[in-house]
Assembly symmetry: C2
Amino acid sequence: MQFEANHKCKVGETMVRNPDETKFQLQHDRLLKAAAHCFNQKGYSGTSLKDVARQLGLTDAALYYYVRNKEELVYQCYLRAADIGRDAMDRAIKDGDSGLDQVRLYIRYHLEYMLGDRGPIAIMSEIPSLPPRHRDQVLEFSRLHSLRFEALLKTGIEDGSISPCDIRMTGNAIMGAINWIPKWFHGDQRTAARVLQEFPEILSCGLRPVA
Amino acid sequence: MQFEANHKCKVGETMVRNPDETKFQLQHDRLLKAAAHCFNQKGYSGTSLKDVARQLGLTDAALYYYVRNKEELVYQCYLRAADIGRDAMDRAIKDGDSGLDQVRLYIRYHLEYMLGDRGPIAIMSEIPSLPPRHRDQVLEFSRLHSLRFEALLKTGIEDGSISPCDIRMTGNAIMGAINWIPKWFHGDQRTAARVLQEFPEILSCGLRPVA
DNA sequence: GCATTATTTTAATCCCGATTAAAATTTTTT
DNA sequence: AAAAAATTTTAATCGGGATTAAAATAATGC
């Protein structure tokens, strides 16, 4: 994903786009993470741009250099979250053997991202409050992701690694448990390790066939 | 739990407390449910009192007859949620046989309340944004509830109905899956029945000993 | 070191939502 | 039906947070 600065650049005329945008990219990335943290903590409307800015040692007005407005900030946070989720899913499908295996790996990879360098990731809990265009797009991404996850379950049931179940509900349960993590996890590495250790097993062991 | 009107009543003097407070109670209860619905949907800060009032066919100012302010509204929603959770827990412990049985029953009862007449129930996702006094109290209730749930798991492990696991993480996973439901459930009875049918099994089948 | 571009701040504006007091309406009591 | 109490509305205040423009500062290329 590529994000652009808010400032207008007449390319090839007076102003020139910064050829090496790494500085901007880096700050922009920090911004999305700080925002994700705040949004997860206090919700979209509950966090002021000042809150986010404070974490970056900036003024609220400074954020407008990186983002058109607050709504675009959540939007981009959500896009980033979708990206990361997709990434975890892709890897799980590639690396996984059976369906159960892929499910377990997806959970693992996703958690590694959430709790590791790429975290915090915004939980998409306020999609309805986005304006129609963005909402529909994010909703579509979210729907797609759910479908892919459900497909893993289906695969598992077909290859016998997962015992038959209501795919939709099972998917909702597993995703819910994952999405709720930011509500009680507050960054200590001890706990992060424990989550990484336990969750993939907890969330997938109920799927195994009784044999 | 008993809630009082915002209006001051000099009992035994000029003004007399309404002897039959059922009208007030009823409206107050409707208010908490409407608020819970909004809060679950758009978050605490994201919902205006006007939003809540609209659902009741009232003006925003009218709500102040029932609660001191917006914060007290969430607070009471959370107290109500705690009450209902406690209720489900009490019944589960009373009715349940083994630890696993109690866990399953707790999930069942809680879902019946959430999706039935007592719903919607506010998910306590914004405890941190309450003012210190209320926050600490709700946090305590929440902590207690989690402990009781973990105790069920412990009982189950001891009586052999649940296979050994990380109690804390398992509890978090199950509670998370439940708490997330309002994010995707939007009131259709078809789905409600399905949740009720599937969730207790999904969330507890992973606990059984492999044997 | 100068000129240009990139980044941030200062200092306003603007609007929305919470809150309140007083007035109006509805309900209950007698 | 009048009086009292309960409930709701109207109309105002008030502050906070989003947003913007212009100015200031930092960084970079030459």
